[in-house]
Symmetry: C2
DNA sequence: CTGAAAGCGCTTACAG
DNA sequence: CTGAAAGCGCTTACAG
């Protein structure tokens, strides 16, 4: 039923080899046969079997996007939508498809990746972020398999990656609150083993130290990148005797939780608590009050990651290039001086 | 370098056929050889080459998700994030991977699908919505290739699909505004050739007719599912001499645009304009004012679509089942009586 | 400029 | 319960 290379060859009166060469634009095929073969291919509606082609060429024109375990939660976060948007756009431009997988569990992720790689199902892997002592990265390096990390690895500095300067970004955000006259500033963090949490915390620390401001363990909460975590952080903060007057929140979606909690508790932003967060997701601007947020160029992160990875795949090398996407603090009402 | 079925066979002292049978849990292989072979597979870290397997089995364990042309814009909309979330979750549970593609242009979409299908790259296709006279659907039906439509087809009623009762949903939304005392109600629609636009418009119409309320062409705007469209719709509405006192907006993200425009023009919701929209995306509740929105069970739509499609793929049949996911209007401040 | 042959890594009747 | 053989649909040296 399906039309194969043989059918085309037969009708065109050439060998399958020739048809194959026509497809790959082999230079020394006479223009006449090229035309004849192409015509037949059109007439028959021929499309090469991608699996067969992959089997012999050992190339798939497919990139894997690993959605870390809680893919469920993950995709609630607009951050990932925008990231994926950048990735899909660029990879499709280059005629690469994007395969999304998750692992059921933590080591399920590694299993999933192994299956794809050893099964020769994809040419490269995109990692959305890294933990310390990340098994996936260990494996990928060991296999010398092309991959790109969006973020920073704790263990290796010589891997292909696209990241922001998160330390500086957090420094800027904190500094801004300090300039608004705040002295007691809290920090709502993400999962502690993620590099992004650590980097942003470090930036916060540096700004505080630099300004000789006290830090207090009570002003520090750690959560997941979901609204609830921001919400919960506030019940902790606002019950303190000595509570912060402003807070740096590591992710917009958590900031939304913070705002919701505060509203329910009867506090107002920025009057009772100044707020600045990260990612500058579309809704940051639409929120009431509008949220000050560090724009980290999410789309650009995804776009660049895909681009670099495809370059590496094509050259069949493990690049070690590290791209930094610039950030900029968008100042809005949530962080403006309480007056 | 890569370990193949032959390597395993050799070390285990059996034939490749036997190894293959072990993998597929063939019933009549002695438990002893099963154990021996599995042990060797572990030791060697053997993973079957998925391409080779696909080539002979003509099955890929992969589903294609077609992102319609403006994939760029699409993924800004939380609707799609949640949909994809449902799809990824369910398909991964069933050990299916998800392949995302876009077409560069309109017929680029069809080309992309043809390439995947004739290239035998995927087992089934998920369509995110349909236009009238949809080329992709025509093609898929003609090829008798398994696919599921999230939405409704104008041309065929006998295709596997998962949808809401959008007519009823829009009826409910409009009726709610009527009960709040509104008589002049506008409608902000999506692209006219999408079934979802037509269905929701029809529900709106029915409710208006039913209540003997006048409809006015000026109260009708059509846009894309992006914020700007909602924004622009308002410059049109609010400049009318005879303008609506309430509006049904077809998509939350457009509703955010409406709100932003109104705020800039100095109007207040719901005092100056009552508002109800659709999808009940997380931010609808967080908006100021909170938006009344019809919850259409987005996650469930995606989850069910994937489930039905995989069932159809496994039975190798083109199912004609049509699932309806129920909706419910979440009433919030944006639509409450102006008093 | 083109063809015949071997091979990519699997699976599956067929035979025993 | 297991093996030998043919084949899935391509590509690519090798030869001419």
């Amino acid at each position: 039923m399906t039309v194969t290379i043989k059918d085309v060859a037969k009708l065109a009166g050439v060998s399958p080899s020739t048809v194959s060469r026509v497809m790959s634009n082999h230079p020394k095929i006479s223009i006449k046969t090229v035309r004849r073969v192409k015509k037949i291919m059109d007439e028959l509606g021929y499309h090469p079997n991608i699996m067969a082609k992959s089997l012999v060429s050992k190339t798939t024109n497919t990139l894997a996007l690993l959605l870390p375990k809680p893919a469920e939660e993950l995709l609630i976060n607009l951050f990932f939508s925008e990231l994926i948007r950048g990735i899909v756009t660029q990879s499709n431009q280059e005629n690469y498809d994007l395969l999304m997988t998750t692992g059921a569990s933590q080591d399920g992720e590694l299993e999933a990746i192994k299956r794809l790689i050893r099964g020769r199902r994809v040419d490269g892997v995109i990692l959305l972020y890294s933990r310390k002592d990340d098994q996936i990265i260990h494996y990928l390096r060991e296999q010398r398999f092309p991959f790109v990390l969006i973020g920073r690895s704790a263990d290796y500095s010589d891997i292909l990656s696209v990241d922001n300067d998160n330390v500086q970004a957090a420094y800027d955000a904190t500094q801004h609150l300090i300039e608004q006259g705040h002295e007691k500033i809290g920090f709502v963090s993400g999962p502690h083993d993620l590099m992004i949490s650590q980097d942003r915390f470090r930036g916060y620390q540096m700004a505080m130290l630099n300004a000789n401001l006290p830090m207090n363990n009570d002003w520090l909460v750690e959560g997941e990148f979901i609204q609830e975590s921001g919400y919960n952080a506030m019940s902790q903060f606002m019950n303190l005797d000595d509570r912060p007057t402003a807070v740096v929140v590591i992710d917009d979606i958590m900031a939304f939780g913070v705002i919701r909690a505060l509203r329910e508790l009867g506090y107002r932003i920025p009057r009772d608590l100044g707020l600045v967060s990260f990612n500058n997701v579309v809704f940051a601007e639409l929120s009431t009050p509008p949220i000050s947020s560090v724009d980290i160029g999410i789309y650009q992160l995804g776009y660049t990651a895909s681009q670099r990875l495809i370059q590496a795949v094509k050259k069949d090398e493990q690049s070690t290039h590290r791209s930094i996407i610039s950030h900029s603090l968008k100042i809005r009402e949530s962080s403006l001086h309480k007056q």
